[in-house]
Amino acid sequence: MDLRTLTFLIVGLTFALYIGIAIWARASTTKEFYIAGGGINPVANGMATAADWMSAASFISMAGLIAFMGYGGSVFLMGWTGGYVILALLLAPYLRKYGKYTVPEFIGDRYYSNIARVVAVICLIVCSVTYVIGQMKGIGVAFSRFLEVDYDIGLLIGMGIVFFYAVLGGMKGITYTQIAQYCVLIFAFTVPAIFISLNLTGNPIPQLGLGSTLVGSDTYLLDKLDLILTDIGFKEYTTNTRINTLNMFAYTLSLMIGTAGLPHVIIRFFTVKKVSDARVSAGWALVFIAILYTTAPAVAAMARLNLVNTIEPNATENLVYDERPDWFRNWEKTGLLGFEDKNGDGKIQYTNDDSNEMVKVDQDIIVLANPEIANLPNWVIALVAAGGLAAALSTAAGLLLAIASAISHDLLKGVFRPKITERQELNASRLAMAGAVLLAGYLGFNPPDFAAGTVALAFGLAAASIFPALMMGIFNRRMNKEGAIAGMLAGLSVTLFYVFQHKGILFIVDTSFLGNMTPNWFFGIEPNAFGAVGAVVNFVISILVSSFTKTPPDHILDLVENIREPITQ
C-alpha cells in the first residue's frame, strides 16, 4: 500500500474512533458538560490531562527546538513539566476541594467580587484563544503535509471533528477522546524514537540510548555530537546556553508558573471524584507527559547527529547534492529544507558561517522527517501524521471547553443572567462551544500576523495574572479583593508592556513605543521569559495593597479555612 493511502487509512481510523466515543459519551447535564460528571478515574484523568497539555507544539516542534538549541532547549523540558509540581502541591487539590466548575468562578467567589471574576474571564479568554490559534494551524499543516489535502479543507475537517465531540459531549466527550488521543500520540512519538535509538546505539530505550556509546565504537553519542558540531562551527550541544543563566532561570520559571496557571489544565482536575484523586491524578498526568518529554531530548540529539552525518559522512567528504537521499528531496519540495550551492562545487556544506549551504532547516522536520531519515516502514510515517493530529485536536478541545465554560457559566450564569435554568445553561454552553469552535476556525483560516508571538503572551498572562491570584487565594488568608484585582491588573500590564515594547503593540512591527531599544534590556531577559517577572510584580502589588485595605469578610475567611481542612467524610 502506498504511503498516502496508508496515511488516509490510519488517520481515518483514529477519526472514526473519536466520533464513536463522542456518540457514546454525550453530556446530558451541566455537571457532565463542565466537569464530565466529576467521577473520572485519576489515572484516566492523568492520561486525558497529558493529551490536553501536549499540543501540536510539544509533539511536532519541541524536539526540533531542542535539536537546534541543545542544552538551551532544556527550558522547555523543565518548564513544561516542573509546572505540574506547583500545580499538584499548590493549586489542584484545593481548587478540587472547593468543588466548582471553572477557574474564574473560584476567583470571583474567593475575592467576593464580580469584577475579579470578569478580569479572570478576560485573562482566560486571551490566553486560551491565542493558544488555540496554534492548534488550528497545526491541524491544517498536518493535513496539507501528510495527506496532500488543502490547508483550508484540512482545517475544516479538523473543526468538524472537534465540533462534533466537544459540542455534543462537553468535558465528558472531550475526556474520553483525549484518552484515545493520548494513546495515539504517544505511540506515534515513541515508536520512531525506539527504532532510531536502536539503530544508533543498540539500546531500544531512547532515554538510555542518549547516554550510551555509538554502535561499533567507544565514543559516547553526546560526545560525538559535541565534536562534529564544533568542527563545523556550531556551539557545543551539551553546554549551549540560551542567552545567559539568568534568562534560562527566568524562562524556566515563567513556563512553570504559566503551566500551573493555564485554566484548561486546571479544570481537568475538577473532573475527579475526591481531593486525594486530584493529587494522584497530577502525578499520573506527569508520568504520561514525562514519557514524551524524556524521549524528546533523545530524538533531538539523535536527529541532529543523523542530519549532520547524512550531509557530511566524514570530515573531508561532503554529500554530493545529486546523490542526496529521498527524504531530502521530499522535504525540499515542502520548503522546510533548502539548499543553495554557494561555491558551485555540487556538494553540500553545512556550517555555522557564511559558507553554509543548508540555507533552510526547519525545526519541524526533526520529528516529521525522523522516520524517513531513519528508513522506517511506511506505517510508522503514517502514524506520525495521526499522532500530530491527535495532539492538536486534544489540546484544541480542552482550550475550547475552557473558553465555552467561562462564557456560559461565568459571564452568563454568574454575572448577567443568574436566573437561567440548568437546561438553559446547558444549551448556552453548547452554543458558546459552537461559537468558540467557529472563532478558532476563523482564526485558523486567517492567522493574525501576531500568531508567532502569542505563545509568549499565553504563558505570560497565565503566569502573571491567574497563577498568583489563585495561589494567594489559598495560601494568604488576608488577601482581599482590592489586592487581588490590583495585582492581576499590575502583573498583566507589566507583562503586556514588556512583550509589546519588544514585539510591537499587538505584535505590529515597529510600534515599539520607547523607540529602538536593545533587545532584552531588562537584565537580558527575553520577552518570552518575562511572565516570571510579571508574577513577582503581581505578588508584590497584591500584598502591598491588601496590607492597607480591609481584611476579607468573615464568610471568606471561613471559605479559606474550609479548603485548607483535612479531608473528612
Binding site: I66, Y71, G73, S74, L77, M78, T81, G82, Y84, V85, I86, A88, L89, L90, P93, Q207, L210, G211, S212, T213, Y220, L221, L222, D223, T238, T239, T245, M248, F249, T252, L253, K274, V275, S276, R279, V280, A282, G283, L286, V287, A290, Y293, T294, P297, E561, R564, E565, P566, I567, T568, Q569
Partner: protein, 85 residues
C-alpha cells in the same frame, strides 16, 4: 485537640511538607539544571554530562517522584487528622 487546633496542626504539617518538596523541586531544576550546570558538567553519568542530564532527564524524573510522595504523605496526614475520605 479541638477542631480548630487540629485544623491548624494539619495545615502546618502540610506547609512543612510542601516546603520540603518545593526545595527539592528547586534544587534539581534551577540549581542542578541551570545555576550549577557548569560545575556539575565535570562529572558524568554514562555518556551524559551530569548537569546536562539534570536539565534534560533527571529533573523530570524527580518531579514525578515528588508529586507521588506528596500525594502519599498527604493521604497519611488526612488519615491522621481527619477521618479519611
Amino acid at each position: 485537640m479541638s477542631s480548630k487546633t487540629k485544623a491548624n496542626a494539619y495545615w502546618q504539617a502540610n506547609l512543612k511538607l510542601v516546603s520540603v518538596l518545593l526545595c527539592i523541586w528547586f534544587i534539581v531544576s534551577f540549581l542542578c539544571g541551570i545555576v550549577l550546570v557548569d560545575f556539575l558538567n565535570q562529572f558524568r553519568l554514562g555518556g551524559y554530562k551530569l548537569g546536562f542530564w539534570f536539565a534534560q532527564q533527571g529533573s523530570i524524573y524527580t518531579f514525578v517522584v515528588l508529586i507521588f510522595v506528596y500525594a502519599h504523605k498527604m493521604k497519611k496526614l488526612d488519615q491522621q487528622f481527619g477521618s479519611g475520605e
